[in-house]
Symmetry: D2
Subunit: 154 residues, 4 copies
């Protein structure tokens, strides 16, 4: 049976504060879903994976390069696409629900793809674009994710 | 010698007013560059190609599907990528300068890629995201495109 | 820590005999590695996943379409790429070692990518191209896979 | 109106003899079609473009990298895909007919894609795989290409 998947997107560098937010998000997401997909790199991607692994979830990193070594240390399964930024499409399309953490244009392109595909995206202190669900805390985010996964499954 | 290339992005459906804007833009862009790249489909993409062909430029359509027949009738050379929305990366990366016309999330993803790649993007009544050059008229757009191409070439 | 990954490639339709071979291969591969990657569809891909799940391994299907429903029922995690045949690159690049089962041109393109990347590929009654390791039985295949994984890890 | 397109595939390094063959092929192909698509790099790709430009055809290079500077000097329009080897799909899919020159695994992957898509491929002293049309000389190749383009158009 297919496992439910959440993707978390966000910058490959971040402040300590956002890093803590991401790790906390990851830890709590692991109580909701089995599989976390990210772009597999550093910054917010690494922090959320670190948190997710604390609760023994499966982490998948969809990398822009051909080199599995580019994956952060909390990635269980690295998919080295070699597609460059075109891999952004794959990160969000793999997910039932997406959570956006703070990030720049790369994160914006991924949010845009969510909107185009109709994949629900919760923006946790990230871009405020028409169509995203906004959240200010990890707790609010988790409530939204739970609700959106339930709607998807039904 | 490599030819200079402008890409125009925008919605696959549009109002009559935007259609006229796009065609007018295309016609005038053909006086500035030899090659126009678009996503190859309908709406703004078709209108800008139509204008560009009035002045005998070369039009390239980078299609999401594998089917050349999806290209509009003003495309000279269709590149049927079969990549789906991942082809958005290719449309903007082919260009020295990008012009954004009104469009939805697909257009937003392409603007985001421009910002990430550092490709200059002129937003002609399209998304207002930090980092884009804004224009209200075809005339303003052409001035900006000329200036940006000159900077690129130097 | 990164998990070792084997990819199995082969036709999306196959004879009963090859289906049995694929299932038997999958069951035995699950004793060697934790993760199986395939193209996620029917035929050899489904049979090898079925065998792999008998031993509780994790199966990943890297799909050509955007539709997770295209994944066979033995796929745990579907990656719906929307890349069409370009997804063939991703299937083999995700793996430490590849096993090729009988298949047509799609399988040939994947073997060619293995050779180009330098990924070892065991051909179990599949294409005989210079550079592949040939095997006639599941047992021979497993010996080769074990040996190649050991070389990779060292 | 869509222009007819031929793609030429082959190694990114080659002997002087093959280089001459490729240049001669390019020069003669330009009398048959307006547009030549290649992978845009060195070796056979450069030589065929050089010949094609002698007769003023339009050359398109679909590059694996994001860097237009990777295109050889005879490319008019560079499409820097950033897709790595996945760009092989695009090279052949852009064409009505493909000609294969000598090359290694990369060329084999492209021939395999032709067979999978049903794009006719003439092998000029290249891989001998079931389904390709074989030719020994440029003259034979041109006869085949003319015939295959005619069948395609009808």
């Amino acid at each position: 049976m297919k496992k439910q998947v959440v993707a978390v997107i966000g910058g490959r560098s971040c402040t300590k504060k956002v890093e803590y937010l991401a790790q906390n998000l990851g830890k709590n997401l692991a109580k909701v879903v089995d599989v976390l997909v990210t772009g597999g790199l550093s910054g917010t991607m690494m922090a959320v994976c670190k948190g997710f692994k604390e609760e023994k979830g499966i982490t998948i990193g969809i990398l822009p390069s051909y080199d599995k070594k580019d994956a952060n240390q909390y990635i269980d399964i690295a998919i080295p696409t070699g597609l460059g930024l075109a891999r952004n499409v794959l990160v969000v399309k793999a997910a039932d629900v997406v959570v956006a953490l703070p990030g720049k244009a790369g994160t914006l392109s991924e949010i845009a793809y969510c909107l185009q595909f109709g994949i629900p995206v919760v923006s946790l202190r990230s871009w405020n674009i028409q169509g995203v669900v906004r959240a200010k805390t990890v707790r609010q985010t988790l409530e939204q994710v739970r609700q959106l996964l339930k709607e998807k499954a039904s």
